[in-house]
């Protein structure tokens, strides 16, 4: 075992349990009848997505978050009253305000917990892990529930082929607790942003910059993304930040049991694996079934990788994501 260099503080953050929730409604590519028949095979070819889950009309982002959170707490054997903080990563909140996390806190019965939202778009899980880790290391809290939940089906234009087929709804959760260095846990995080690329992935209207009432194009109310630019951005920044993370931690890439990458596009993951010279089998993938669940994808994948046994106790794992902002981040975790 190589000598791992965690941050200086002896108090560390341990992954206590995980959970996820995917809505029941499963929509296949062939069900997307609003698009021309000849365009349907391109969906899987371009991204690897075959199915996606879609929230029911009476489910919103907090509902998915609560379902994932309950599963996570049940697995960990923790009562909601023992949770001291709830961080909800989402870029598709219930409302502009208040924070979606507060509804989760209420309905979960976590009355002792503070609750806040963070919006790092698809990087939400990795930014949330780093933020929760900082709060726990600093002694602010001993037990934080990080949830990532997205209902992109409500912010996508159903007729936009460049976005609609590729996304799905879902939520993931991870319960983090204070621990000691010998237990492993979150060893290191790297976070990056580049606001100069903010137009690459965005919902242009609905905020104070462009209120709905001042929209000149109805499509401005919907999510939009420059797919080709995002591909280039991802295949440059993801390998770069993984290398930086591992170099700072003093860990070789061969020591990583599993890479839990944002599930945006299978071709991005194949390319990242090729650039890093890592067998793609060490990258967990579930996007064929769920599509891109934006900020939730990493926590959903982490839960499934643990449940399926791809990650075991003691394994070194890299979680890594990229998305709107632009933002990208990675965490090194010993499970």
């Amino acid at each position: 075992m190589e000598e791992i260099r965690p941050l200086m503080n002896e108090r560390t953050t341990i992954v206590s349990s995980t959970g996820s929730y995917l809505p029941e409604k499963r929509v296949g590519n062939d069900d997307l009848t609003q698009f021309p028949r000849e365009a349907i095979p391109l969906i899987a070819e371009k991204t690897g997505v075959h199915y996606r889950r879609v929230a029911s009309d009476d489910e919103c982002t907090s509902d998915l978050a609560i379902r994932a959170a309950k599963k996570c707490l049940e697995k960990g054997g923790i009562d909601p009253m023992q949770v001291e903080g709830i961080i909800l990563a989402t870029s598709s909140p219930d409302r502009m305000q208040p924070a979606t996390a507060t509804r989760v806190q209420d309905l979960l019965g976590a009355r002792q917990a503070f609750a806040l939202d963070i919006n790092s778009v698809c990087s939400g899980s990795t930014f949330g892990i780093a933020l929760a880790d900082g709060l726990i290391r600093s002694g602010q809290a001993d037990r934080i529930l990080l949830i990532a939940s997205e209902v992109y089906s409500r912010i996508l234009n159903p007729k936009d082929y460049t976005t609609f087929p590729f996304f799905g709804d879902g939520a993931g959760a991870v319960l983090l607790r204070a621990g000691i260095r010998e237990e492993g846990g979150i060893l290191r995080s790297c976070l990056r942003s580049d606001g100069g690329g903010s137009e690459m992935i965005c919902v242009p209207a609905g905020g104070t910059q462009l209120p709905f009432g001042r929209m000149t194009h109805p499509r401005s109310a919907f999510f939009r993304m420059r797919g080709a630019d995002v591909f280039s951005f991802a295949v440059e920044k993801v390998p770069e930040i993984i290398r930086q993370l591992l170099a700072e931690a003093g860990v070789s890439i061969s020591a990583i049991r599993c890479f839990v990458c944002h599930q945006a596009n299978a071709n991005i993951i194949y390319k990242v694996a090729e650039i890093l010279d890592v067998p793609v089998e060490r990258f967990f993938m579930n996007l064929s079934d769920y599509g891109n669940t934006a900020g939730a994808s990493v926590l959903i994948a982490l839960d499934e990788a643990l449940t399926e046994g791809m990650i075991r106790q003691g394994d070194l794992v890299v979680t890594v994501a990229f998305g709107g902002g632009l933002s990208w981040g990675a965490n090194l975790i010993q499970i």
């Binding site: 371009k46 082929y161 242009p204 499509r219």
Partner: protein
């Protein structure tokens, strides 16, 4: 030509916000010159042309080198699409 071009341009302004933001397009513009043009955007243009003009343009004719002038020709005379497709397949 002008009326059809104005209609098509209105569609483009609706679909491609970068054009609305000031990128100039003319009948001679190639599809590849549209900001953020790719095979996904081609599907959106195909859908819009079908909706607005009731003309089903195969994706094969919405290639990078195609110009708006050519698309207008197909919209005005949809019966030429079959010939164009035959030529496309002979070339490829």
């Amino acid at each position: 030509m002008t009326d059809l071009w104005n209609q098509l341009k209105a569609v483009l302004l609706e679909e491609f916000l970068e054009i609305a933001d000031g990128t100039a397009v003319t009948e001679k513009t190639k599809l590849a010159e549209i900001p953020n043009w790719d095979s996904m955007a081609a599907v959106n243009l195909q859908i819009l042309i079908n909706e607005i003009f009731q003309v089903e343009l195969p994706l094969d004719l919405l290639q990078d080198e195609a110009t708006f002038e050519e698309l207008i020709g197909f919209i005005r005379e949809p019966e030429t699409i079959a010939d164009a497709m035959r030529r496309f397949h002979e070339r490829s």
